[in-house]
């Protein structure tokens, strides 16, 4: 043995030489190594520090349950905290750092915490740090917070990409050991769709490191044969490096595939990781069993590790944990470690077997084992028995069952769609594992014969804690929970397994107690005189192993977080220099600045241009719903609080919808194109909700009605053409129709052809208060038509206007919008009470009659303007009676919308004011504490501009 690398054997490629660094120090390893195995081969055992006492720690396991050997991997945007060295496949140039230590792993100041450990017992912080009061915020807590956590996360964006995908199969096999392989093979040969997933870098499970004999070959060779056949079957998908992290309703499994974590940088176009949602008709848990540590003084000294891990490193990675070892066990399986290590030329200086009454009382050594019970050695292999990996089967609430025979919890029966086999089911004999695989893989009688194999009996005498041992005996390594903490918790009334977990933090570290929980449960049981079965486990939850946020996010990052929705006039808006604003998923043109203009200057110019000549606005985002059928009119009567069945063909009408609880829901104009054909418009914000509401009302309430509906929002590019010159501008586009108050009166709606061959819909409606039209053309023509309108309007200095100008004009006119239609106002509050029909049943009618909704003291919409007309006002200021002291009880309402009015040359707005309509003319105090701005304002009619609506018909 040169150093700790065993001369021969193992699944590493000795022809490769990979350079890597740990805490800046350079090392080399081989293809096939993990970071942990490479460090061990280099004689490095000290890999980390514990959470509370900062104890020196080495690797305990060889898999995903590792609590100690956590490192900071990679750098900058790719830096990952708390990465298990045992799961990191070595690659050339790998850089890793140890965590939670300062200044260095060797010399860690906070190791002094150990000295105070007699005070830092479980739950100590609940009992102190309370005096003096101010010290908690100022001193104690900041200190605790600073000390908290293990690794440091990056604050730079992640340069790698992630993917999500769905998969469907008849049989999902979780784990590729002998049991899983046999299940996959049997189902695969039966021809059904099979997925075989394993978190390991290679498939084969324990056969990658255990010396087994199957079908007359070594377990490893047998596995390779099976894998070769599985790979050749088109109906079988092999998924190495893929952890099934959770079991969810509907037999859906979440999986994380580590596509490129084994290389420095993913290949171009390839994701770092892929998150799978696997829909399995049936799933098989072949996840194996987890070896348990024994609980004795110094069981955390670097060099002490699981017996199976020690032979795993030796057999698979040709890495010897030590030159002279001691084996400590309570069961038969550690015998494998003795034979295997001896075979590799490692000296086994002692086998200490609790079944013979033998104990480890003390481990000598700080950063590396030196001796055990006086016997010199440099490593200790421990085996406290085996815990079947039941986690996934308990993710939906079932509790595992204690099995005395193997001294472990075995999976609950959760029904035929998810069954366990192999040592995950508590089967310790290889033959049982293979037989179980055949059983689970059998589909409609199509089965296989299990191969012959060498069995090795398993025997255990549970042994939980060497009470007499010197020094700390750890249960939860990472969180530094010791055996003594558990009886303490019991004494203090936290003996329930869930309370003890929270009081001592046992099982709450990144390994979720995979190694320690069963030991903890046994010790708790003893402390409170219960059996282990009575004590039971804590709740198993996803994630089996932690999952990166990136994987769950997939490609939906940054600007792609949500889809972008563009209007058919987007290109035209861009040509006109629009500044866009998010409105739900839509991008809407907010204003069209000219050189040197800010948003207000631009919006002001747009309003003036529109009110004095003509303006053009993209209103395509308004929801448009085609409503057809014999009963369309009747149906609308149910939806709106006002009546539509009487609307004559070719006419539009403003409507308001309530929710069933009587509160206003949405508004818009709906037009009748034919006896059995209406087109409804909704607000941009509520378009989707209104559609669902319509579907509900028809399918659930009035299925007998003959009505059909479909969203045509995206079919039409819709433009508002507003202003005294709107008609003149439009006339130039409209073919063979003389636009006039006769042919196209206010609230008319009709089909027209424009520019020769485009059939369009023309509505004479107005949000701005001007003589205005809305023109709807098929979306593909939108940009071209908009351009033509701009030409037609050029002589009138037509201006494109955005939502800012739109909202200024609607506020000038006192039209309600989102700020007022806020889900708490009634039609009455909005000043639309008279629209509520008393002749028919409609959604919301009954509940709108409740006293609280009819109360005149309710806040209703009024206009508001500052007494000092030169003053700027803002939304969100609250209204108080003059002379009232500020208090919520005295609150009279608030300002919901404000605008700078270019026409009236001042700031004005709309407010919701208690009993408002009776208070026109009153001077109120506006309380805007947020901006430290309190002032007087006058309550006025909501219609600030053109109160007689003369411009509408101008």
């Amino acid at each position: 043995m040169t150093g700790f690398r065993i001369e021969k054997g193992g699944l590493i490629n000795r022809d490769t030489k990979l350079n890597f660094t740990f805490d800046g120090k350079a090392f080399t390893g081989h293809n096939g190594d993990t970071l942990a195995s490479a460090l061990i081969a280099n004689g490095v055992h000290l890999m980390g520090r514990s959470f509370k006492y900062h104890r020196p720690r080495g690797v305990i396991s060889a898999g995903s349950s590792e609590p100690n050997a956590l490192v900071e991997l990679r750098e900058n945007g790719r830096k990952e905290a708390n990465t298990r060295a045992t799961m990191v496949e070595l690659y050339d140039g790998l850089m890793a750092k140890s965590q939670n230590r300062w200044p260095s792993l060797q010399h860690d100041i906070l190791a002094i915490n150990s000295l105070a450990s007699s005070i830092f017992v479980a739950g100590f912080y609940y009992k102190t740090f309370m005096w003096p009061k101010s010290f908690w915020e100022k001193i104690y807590e900041p200190l605790i917070r600073k000390a908290a956590g293990l690794g440091t996360a990056s604050r730079e964006a992640d340069p790698d990409t992630y993917e999500k995908s769905y998969a469907h199969c008849d049989v999902l096999v979780i784990g590729s050991g002998p049991a899983g392989l046999m299940a996959a093979l049997t189902a695969g040969r039966a021809g059904v769709r099979v997925i075989l997933a394993d978190e390991g870098s290679a498939l084969g499970g324990s056969l990658l490191f255990e010396n087994e004999e199957i079908a007359g070959q070594s377990g490893y060779d047998w596995a390779q044969g099976i894998l070769a056949e599985l790979a050749s079957l088109p109906n079988v998908t092999l998924m190495p490096r893929s952890t099934i992290f959770g079991w969810f309703d509907g037999n859906i499994f979440g999986a994380l595939e580590r596509v490129n974590d084994h290389v420095a940088v993913p290949a171009p176009f390839e994701p770092r990781q892929r998150y799978w949602r696997i829909h399995a008709n049936r799933a098989v848990l072949a996840a194996g069993a987890e070896e348990r540590p024994l609980v004795f003084g110094g069981n955390d000294v670097p060099g002490v590790m699981l017996a199976s891990a020690m032979r795993h490193y030796a057999n698979r990675f040709a890495a010897a944990a030590g030159k002279s070892i001691v084996v400590f066990t309570n069961n038969s399986s550690a015998a494998r470690t003795v034979t295997d290590m001896q075979k590799h030329g490692v000296n086994v200086s002692a086998v200490i077997d609790t079944r013979k009454g033998e104990r480890i009382l003390a481990v000598k050594g700080g950063k590396q084992v030196v001796a055990v019970n006086g016997t010199p050695c440099d490593a200790v292999a421990m085996s406290g028995g085996w815990s079947p990996i039941v986690n996934l089967m308990c993710h939906r609430g079932a509790k595992p069952i204690w099995n005395e025979g193997i001294a472990g919890f075995t999976p609950p029966d959760v029904g035929p769609e998810f069954t366990a086999i192999g040592s995950a089911a508590g089967h310790m004999l290889l033959s049982e594992c293979l037989a179980g695989g055949v059983r689970a893989g059998t589909v409609k009688g199509r089965t296989e014969a299990a191969p012959q194999c060498r069995d090795e009996a398993f025997a255990i005498q549970p042994f939980w804690w060497v009470k007499e041992s010197v020094g700390k005996a750890f249960i939860d390594y990472q969180n530094d929970a010791t055996a003594k903490d558990l009886p303490l918790a019991t004494r203090e009334g936290y003996g329930h397994v869930e309370l003890a977990k929270r009081y001592t933090t046992t099982g709450m570290a990144t390994d979720q107690g995979k190694l320690g929980n069963v030991n903890a449960i046994a010790i708790l049981a003893e402390a409170s005189g219960k059996t282990i079965a009575e004590m039971g486990t804590t709740t198993f939850r996803p994630f089996y192993t932690p999952v990166s946020f990136g994987a769950f996010t997939g490609p939906f990052t940054g600007h792609h977080f949500q889809p972008v929705r563009k209007t058919p006039l987007h290109d035209w808006c861009v040509e006109q220099g629009a500044v866009f604003v998010e409105s739900g998923l839509w991008m809407r043109s907010a204003w069209f600045p000219q050189a040197g203009e800010d948003w207000l200057a631009a919006a002001t110019r747009e309003v003036k241009a529109t009110r004095s000549g003509v303006g053009l606005c993209d209103v395509s985002t308004l929801g448009k719903i085609d409503i057809q059928g014999k009963d369309a009119g009747l149906f609308l009567d149910h939806l709106y609080c006002n009546t539509f069945s009487t609307l004559s063909i070719g006419k539009a009408r403003y409507g308001i919808m309530l929710r069933e609880d009587g509160i206003a829901f949405d508004d818009g104009t709906t037009s009748r194109l034919a006896e059995d054909h209406f087109v409804m418009t909704t607000t941009t914000a509520n378009a989707a909700r209104v559609m669902s509401h319509i579907e509900f009302c028809h399918q659930v309430h009035w299925p007998e009605l003959d009505v059909q509906y479909v969203s045509v929002t995206e079919q039409w590019a819709q433009m508002a053409i507003a202003g005294p010159k709107a008609r003149a501008t439009l006339q130039k586009l409209v073919d063979n129709l003389q636009l006039s108050d006769e042919t196209m009166p206010y609230l008319a709606a009709r089909d027209v052809t424009i520019l020769g061959d485009v059939t369009a819909r023309l509505f004479r409606i107005s949000f701005s208060g001007e003589h205005a039209y809305e023109l709807a053309v098929p979306a593909d023509y939108g940009n071209a038509v908009a351009r033509s309108i701009m030409q037609a309007g050029a002589e009138f200095n037509i201006a494109p206007y955005g939502v800012e100008a739109l909202s200024i004009m609607r506020i000038e006119k006192g039209h309600v919008a989102g700020g007022e239609l806020n889900g708490t106002t009634t039609a009455g509050d909005l000043g639309l009470g008279k629209m509520m029909s008393t002749k028919k049943d409609y959604i919301g009618r009954a509940m709108s009659m409740r006293a609280g909704l009819a109360d005149p003291a309710r806040q209703c919409v009024v206009g508001i303007k500052p007494v000092d007309r030169s003053m700027k006002i803002r939304s969100g200021g609250h209204l108080l009676k003059q002379g009232d002291a500020p208090s919520l009880q005295a609150d009279q309402g608030y300002i919901c919308s404000v605008a700078w009015s270019p026409m009236l040359d001042m700031w004005l707005g709309l407010a919701l004011l208690s009993n408002g309509r009776a208070r026109i003319g009153e001077i109120v105090k506006v309380f805007d504490g947020l901006r430290g701005h309190h002032y007087l304002a006058e309550i006025c009619d909501p219609v600030h501009f053109d109160p007689k609506n003369e411009r509408l018909h101008a």
């Binding site: 956590g149 939850r541 769950f552």
Partner: protein, 416 residues
């Protein structure tokens, strides 16, 4: 035994062998003056204040599992008093004041930590809504600040300010908001109540309510029948079930909300932050885990667990807010069952059954309310009249049309 650094030192000398239980495990008595159903934060706080403030002694708290096994033991621990309705904010501000003196009051360190709660906004409409809310808080003398984008950037430069789908335009900040160690709240109140003679009966499930001519006389439990003069329901998430035992039907649906914790990290996000363009909010626990959550799964549920789509939905929003979270790992997810009411606000009221009281409907916001809820519920039970700051939490507000709908979503519980 009083907790202090001194008692800690003394006990360390005797190897911590002499600590007495934080609370007793008594056998149920035949009869109590008051029985509180639910050993969660609210139930235990109610018992504590009944004993401490109103000097009542003969009280039991029934808990079907172990105390803290419900939502108090599984919530994301955020406390704030940033409500806007007159019926709400004074109540939550009372709660905040009680939090501020709680640890000394019940001699248990619950790690009340006022690191600030920041609600981000991304549109002018959201800003206006926050302005309305912030000013309502100011009217009530509560601290609130409306931050502009640059101020948010200064606080959290590593949030997505440069390539976001929905730009962060600013935020509403309440500096007195923060977090509290959830379990410790249950334990502290339990210990405080126990010290004052309250019997905490764990593993004791309410299975029936005994009434005689319209009046409560006792209860049936998994540990036998117990008589009582007053019965106070406080079974968050299961209120409909326990109320049904007295023939009551509530304006409540039970829904599941998931929460998550990441692997432990060195200090990363100091305060509490909520995203305004998706369902995500986050704070960092004293152990270093990022504790985060988002929206309810959306379907009625009594299972304390959720499903994958919401996990994705929440984490997508998280990475949209903080891109560098991409390589952080989610460690554990869990769920809690909550009463979702028809207006998103709670109920603290008498019922049509004489001697039967109801504390319910806390939705996903009742942890911050724990002290005030206990305080006001105790007041109602002791004096048979509502506490001034809890007057609006009447059950009949739906019938009369006086809903307390902060969000304006109406009678659809899963939208609140």
């Amino acid at each position: 035994m009083k907790y202090s650094l001194f008692s800690l030192l003394r006990n360390s000398l005797s190897g911590h062998k002499n600590w007495s239980p934080a609370w007793r495990s008594p056998e149920p008595k035949k009869e109590y003056d008051i029985i509180i159903v639910g050993g969660g934060g609210h139930g235990l706080a109610t018992a504590y204040y009944l004993a401490k403030i109103h000097g009542l002694k003969n009280i039991a708290v029934l808990e079907k599992n172990h105390i803290g096994s419900g939502n108090v033991g599984r919530n994301t621990t955020i406390i704030r008093s940033n409500y806007q309705l007159p019926g709400n904010n004074p109540f939550y501000e009372l709660s905040m004041k009680l939090w501020e003196g709680l640890e000394q009051d019940f001699n248990f360190n619950a790690m009340v930590s006022q690191r600030g709660v920041l609600n981000l906004y991304h549109t002018d409409a959201q800003r206006d809504a926050f302005a309305r809310r912030g000013n309502a808080m100011h009217l009530d003398g509560v601290d609130a600040e409306l931050l502009e984008a640059h101020a948010v950037r200064d606080m959290y430069p590593f949030f997505d300010h440069d390539n976001p789908r929905f730009p962060i335009k600013g935020g509403l900040l309440q500096r007195r908001g923060g977090t509290v160690r959830h379990d410790a709240v249950a334990w502290g109140y339990a210990r405080g109540a126990d010290l004052r003679g309250v019997d905490i009966l764990q593993g004791c499930e309410l299975t029936g309510i005994d009434t005689e001519n319209g009046k409560v006389v006792g209860v049936q439990t998994s540990r036998g029948a117990i008589r009582c003069k007053k019965l106070a329901l406080c079974a968050a998430g299961h209120s409909s079930e326990v109320a049904a035992m007295a023939g009551l039907k509530l304006p409540i649906e039970s829904h599941v909300l998931q929460a998550f914790v990441s692997e432990g990290l060195k200090p990363y996000i100091d305060g509490v932050v909520t995203f305004g363009a998706g369902h995500f909010y986050v704070s960092q626990s004293d152990k270093g885990g990022l504790v985060f959550g988002g929206d309810i799964d959306g379907y009625n549920s009594y299972a304390q667990r959720g499903n994958l789509p919401m996990v994705e939905h929440v984490i997508e929003a998280g990475v949209a807010m903080v891109p560098s979270l991409s390589r952080v790992r989610a460690l554990r997810s869990w769920g809690g069952v909550m009463d979702m009411t028809m207006d998103g606000s709670p109920i603290i009221d008498k019922t049509s059954v004489h001697g039967l009281y109801l504390n319910a409907g806390w939705c996903y916001g009742g942890f911050k309310a724990t002290p005030a809820s206990g305080w006001c519920y105790a007041y109602l039970i002791a004096k048979d009249e509502p506490h001034t700051v809890a007057k609006a939490y009447r059950m009949d507000r739906f019938r009369t049309g006086h809903m307390l709908d902060e969000k304006g979503q109406g009678a659809t519980p899963n939208l609140h």
